[in-house]
């Protein structure tokens, strides 16, 4: 059936495949066609991708900011150590408070795999004032605790100013202030001879502590040495809270033994907990607040998807001539629909990449302002463009089908 072909240079003749001429469009050619389709209408493409970029950018920023604060909290926990265990008296079956026996501390000292033990003891009905002239009801909510010389080390905290107790000062009427208590009492530094009126006796301020992140309730208290407390206020040496640093690898085995060791006769009346777990739970909970914001990002994405579908429908109508030409040049209906689907998906994927950049930059600004580490979750690097691609593909379904259904003759007549 074939005649002599046109003379002159032409395509190498290797077009027969199974005796048939098959119209083909290689994937990389499809990519080129899609890119070119977007490239001829750059401004419009950029504007319609903006919706997707904003949606994905918002989501990346939300996830990034929350990941950054989580990372910050977790690094704090790492720094403070996860091997701190606390022992507190529980409540009886009838709701009355249990009391830890005074033997608890020496017993715990005898345990294996223990690095550090410290305790605080409630000093009941004793308040602290700057002068005796302050009305006794204005306690400022500051509690008084007795403690030993090991508290700062056990809590992995440090002294902001002055000194902590040593074997000498713990027997004297000296006081060390928790960070928040010092602020309430308006004592910023240990300078000269600052005294506080504690339970009717003048105490000399010898130190101010930094915050104790693992148990921030201690920040509101002032501390006096246990020997001084026993001597001056007849405090019973029954700990209200014991802090135990276990070997890092033995935390759970130590935790299991602590209750029975502290109070062998009433182990069920003893609570043992790991403060770092509470902080980790709080870090995890921080992630929960982002759900609402992610929802807002999703709404932006939906609006962006509708924008892309809209722009693609307009594009199909405008490019009827091109569609007709492509059909005349040998494109199948599927080639046409795939082209428009690819354009839509590519457009939205580019929007996704732009959104990823927006979100990462927003997270960076936040993390610098908050002095937190800059964290963008790794999955976001893949999820952002992939989400764009998927949204674009879905948004492009209808315009692509519309383009494929177009009659080529009508399309050619259009221009």
């Amino acid at each position: 059936m074939s005649v002599a072909a046109l003379k002159g240079p032409g395509l190498p003749r290797r077009r027969r495949r199974g005796g048939r001429d098959v119209a083909r469009l290689a994937p990389h050619e499809l990519f080129g066609v899609a890119l070119q389709g977007l490239g001829t209408r750059r401004l419009r493409a950029a504007l319609s991708a903006l919706g997707i970029a904003i949606g994905i950018g918002a989501m990346v920023a939300v996830v990034g900011v929350s990941a950054s604060s989580q990372a910050n909290l977790l690094s704090t926990i790492d720094r403070l150590g996860t091997n701190l265990l606390t022992v507190t008296p529980g409540t009886t079956f009838f709701g009355a408070n249990e009391v830890l026996p005074s033997t608890a501390i020496p017993m715990i000292h005898h345990m294996a795999n223990i690095n550090q033990v410290s305790a605080v003891y409630a000093v009941p009905n004793i308040n602290v004032f700057r002068t005796p002239f302050v009305p006794s009801t204005q306690t400022g909510g500051i509690g008084v605790d007795a403690t030993d010389t090991g508290l700062v080390k056990a809590m992995n905290s440090s002294v902001a100013s002055g000194l902590f107790f040593n074997a000498a000062s713990e027997t004297e009427p000296t006081v060390v202030l928790g960070a928040a208590a010092a602020a309430d009492l308006q004592i910023e530094k240990v300078t000269g001879h600052v005294q506080l009126f504690v339970g009717g006796t003048w105490f000399t301020v010898i130190g101010i502590l930094n915050s104790m992140t693992l148990d921030t309730s201690l920040d509101n208290d002032v501390f006096i040495g246990l020997p001084a407390a026993e001597h001056l206020f007849q405090v019973q040496p029954s700990p209200s809270e014991i802090y135990v640093r276990a070997n890092v690898n033995d935390v759970s085995s130590v935790a299991n033994l602590l209750a029975a060791t502290s109070d062998p006769q009433n182990a069920s009346g003893v609570n043992v907990s790991q403060p770092s777990n509470v902080l980790e739970a709080r870090a995890a909970a921080k992630g929960q607040f982002t759900t609402l914001l992610l929802g807002l990002g999703a709404v932006a994405l939906l609006v962006g998807a509708i924008g892309i579908a809209n722009i693609m429908v307009i594009s199909v109508l405008e490019r009827r001539g091109e569609i007709g030409l492509r059909r005349a040049l040998g494109a199948t209906r599927r080639h046409i629909s795939t082209q428009f689907l690819a354009e839509s998906a590519l457009l939205a994927a580019l929007g996704g990449v732009a959104g990823l950049v927006f979100g990462a930059v927003a997270t960076w600004v936040y993390s610098v302002a908050q002095n937190e580490p800059w964290v963008v979750p790794v999955y976001a690097l893949i999820a952002a463009p992939a989400a764009g691609l998927l949204i674009g593909a879905v948004a492009g379904l209808y315009p692509a089908a519309k383009a494929a259904r177009l009659s080529p003759t009508e399309a050619l007549r259009a221009t």
Partner: protein
């Protein structure tokens, strides 16, 4: 460089009792029968609305008839699948339109190379063939020009280069000189005759008697029917 020799009287395009009805009861074609042999150069003449464009789109496999039988390059168009017909258009048929249908964002070379996109040939080969085709139509110096930098006649020659670069056996032209002044129209017409004489079947639609006179065979259409079939 000639392909396998074939009998001179082989039928390239065959319409048998072909009718085409559009929704709304418009009969664009009524029982048209015609054989166009390989190597024939045929002008289809008629007033607008006579069905000549419809006939060309059916010959070009862009549309299927409502009734009748169509063979293009030996293929049964009515029974063939969409992708079979697309393959036929990609390899065997070159279209030339009144409105050129060039893409403004591309150079002449890439417009022509894009004409072979669906053959699956790699870009390098397509560009090479495109360059040859542009030289053949006398635009060897214009390969990097964009359509807006070209005159009407040059644009149509780029479109012709696009149609012939893949070395089709059939060239279908729909009023190719309709948008051109008479001088460049004349040149385009001569070019088409010349190229077709090298080994392709040419069917050209026109309402211009002067254009039709340059063809050895003329089909006169009216109201969806062929009313005369003259040969010189």
């Amino acid at each position: 460089m000639t392909a396998a020799p074939s009998p001179e009287n082989a039928v390239a395009l065959e319409l048998r009792d072909v009718g085409k009805e559009y929704p709304g009861g418009v009969h664009a074609l009524r029982s048209v029968s015609v054989d166009i042999l390989t190597g024939d150069q045929v002008a289809v003449v008629g007033p607008s609305g006579s069905g000549k464009t419809t006939m060309l789109t059916i010959l070009g496999t862009l549309e299927r008839p409502t009734s009748g039988v169509v063979h293009v390059a030996g293929r049964d168009v009515v029974k063939a699948s969409d992708s079979d017909l697309a393959g036929l258009r990609a390899f065997e048929i070159g279209f030339v339109f009144q409105g050129f249908h060039l893409q403004d964002s591309m150079t002449a070379l890439d417009n022509v190379a894009n004409g072979m996109l669906y053959t699956g040939a790699p870009l390098r080969e397509r560009r090479e063939a495109a360059k040859g085709a542009l030289e053949r139509v006398g635009l060897g110096e214009r390969v990097t020009h964009r359509p807006q930098q070209l005159s009407g006649g040059e644009k149509q020659r780029v479109a012709i280069a696009r149609a012939i670069a893949k070395q089709p056996t059939i060239i279908l032209a729909d009023e190719p000189t309709g948008n051109l002044d008479s001088k460049s129209g004349q040149a385009v017409l001569e070019l088409l005759h010349e190229l077709a004489a090298e080994g392709a079947t040419l069917a050209l639609i026109t309402h211009d008697e002067h254009v039709a006179e340059t063809f050895s065979r003329r089909l006169q259409m009216r109201d969806g029917e062929i009313v005369s079939d003259e040969r010189q």
